[in-house]
């Protein structure tokens, strides 16, 4: 039952999985960044820079999957 279903899967599965992981990563970074700003509002600029950078790296995985895996 399950194996034939898996065998039917086709298309750009790797992009979907990379997007799933990237979205989870961005969500986690945003969650922790908001928590950090809540604890220390004075450091919000530094936290913003760090989280923006981390989000960029997390998102880049999706583009690696789009371009590098065929």
């Amino acid at each position: 039952m399950f194996m034939p279903m898996l065998a039917e899967l086709s298309g750009n599965l790797h992009v979907g999985l990379a997007a799933l992981g990237g979205a989870l990563g961005v969500g986690l970074i945003g969650m922790k960044a908001s928590e950090a700003v809540g604890r220390n509002p004075g450091a919000s600029t530094k936290i913003l820079v760090q989280s923006i950078l981390a989000i960029a790296f997390a998102e880049a995985i999706v583009f690696y999957a789009l371009f590098l895996v065929k």
């Binding site: 750009n12 923006i52 998102e59 880049a60 583009f63």
Partner: protein, 298 residues
């Protein structure tokens, strides 16, 4: 450039090219949604596309507005001059807090231009009539516009990749100006941190190898910058299109909440593009800690 981008968009099918015929008739009337690449005006093979027209209109509007607002500069600003001063000043303070007062003097013009232009283009694409006025044909469910006169400027991958490539050129120039060629290579390959003896040798080898990873990730920056902006704006246009075609009797109401969301996405994406470019520039132009302290003492 245009042909390559177009070829990619065709090749990897980010969006299914044609919906399955099993979908209900209401959804099928939405057809293929918005095409991925901008269409040329004046028939096949024309040079001027509908996205380019929007880009020019927005740029011209911004120039004329800024020039007319600052023609008669007043000591105590009011009206349009006040608006521009508020916009530029708050952008300047914001960027200064992130990349530092020295770098912001040198780079503010690019980042402010990028922010204002992306924001204006994104919001211009939301004006009713953009994407719905143009040439079309009589379909099964009434007249359907297939070649609109205007299309959101950032819903064209050529525009966003051009912006990110211009940024990468200046990123490189500023990096060389800040640290020199040797400092630039040292930034990429040099060992960071304090260590001695065998550990030091190990660290040098590791950081040299990390340098190649660094170059790889830097070379993906323009791609991810341009795709992030294009993807958000194009998906937003597609969603508005789908929402206004989903239930024909409710097409006056359904897109409204999504219009508000697109207003928000327009600001957020302009901010993200500006912030990322600014932070990338700051990272490569940073001097070593020791240099910075010595500099401050002089």
């Amino acid at each position: 450039m245009g042909a390559a981008v177009h070829g990619f968009a065709q090749g990897t099918a980010l969006v299914p090219a044609s919906p399955e015929p099993a979908q209900p008739a209401a959804a099928a009337s939405a057809g293929h949604g918005i095409p991925q690449s901008a269409q040329s005006l004046g028939g096949e093979g024309g040079f001027v596309t509908n996205s380019m027209v929007v880009t020019w209109v927005v740029a011209l509007g911004l120039i004329v507005f800024a020039q007319s607002a600052t023609r008669n500069m007043k000591r105590i600003p009011a009206g349009a001059q006040n608006f521009w001063e508020w916009l530029v000043e708050s952008l300047h303070d914001f960027l200064e807090g992130i990349i530092g007062p020295e770098l912001v003097k040198k780079t503010f013009w690019l980042f402010a231009t990028i922010f204002i232009f992306i924001l204006a283009t994104n919001w211009f694409g939301l004006i009713p009539g953009v994407g719905t006025i143009g040439w079309g044909e009589q379909g099964a469910h009434g007249f359907e516009v297939t070649r609109p006169l205007l299309r959101g400027g950032n819903a064209d991958l050529n525009m966003t990749s051009a912006m990110s490539m211009v940024f990468m050129v200046f990123w490189f120039i500023w990096a060389i100006q800040a640290n020199g060629v040797g400092g630039f290579l040292g930034h990429l390959f040099g060992a960071k941190g304090e260590s001695t003896g065998v550990l030091r040798v190990l660290m040098v080898i590791i950081f040299f190898l990390v340098g190649f990873l660094e170059i790889f990730s830097i070379s993906f920056r323009p791609i991810s910058l341009s795709f992030r902006l294009f993807g958000n704006i194009y998906a937003g246009e597609n969603m508005l299109d789908a929402m206004s075609n989903l239930v024909p009797s409710l097409s006056w109401l359904l897109p409204v909440p999504f219009y508000f969301m697109e207003l928000l996405v327009g600001v957020v994406q302009a901010l993200v593009f500006t912030l990322l470019t600014a932070v990338f520039t700051m990272l490569i132009c940073m001097h070593d800690e020791g240099d910075g302290k010595a500099h401050a003492q002089h």
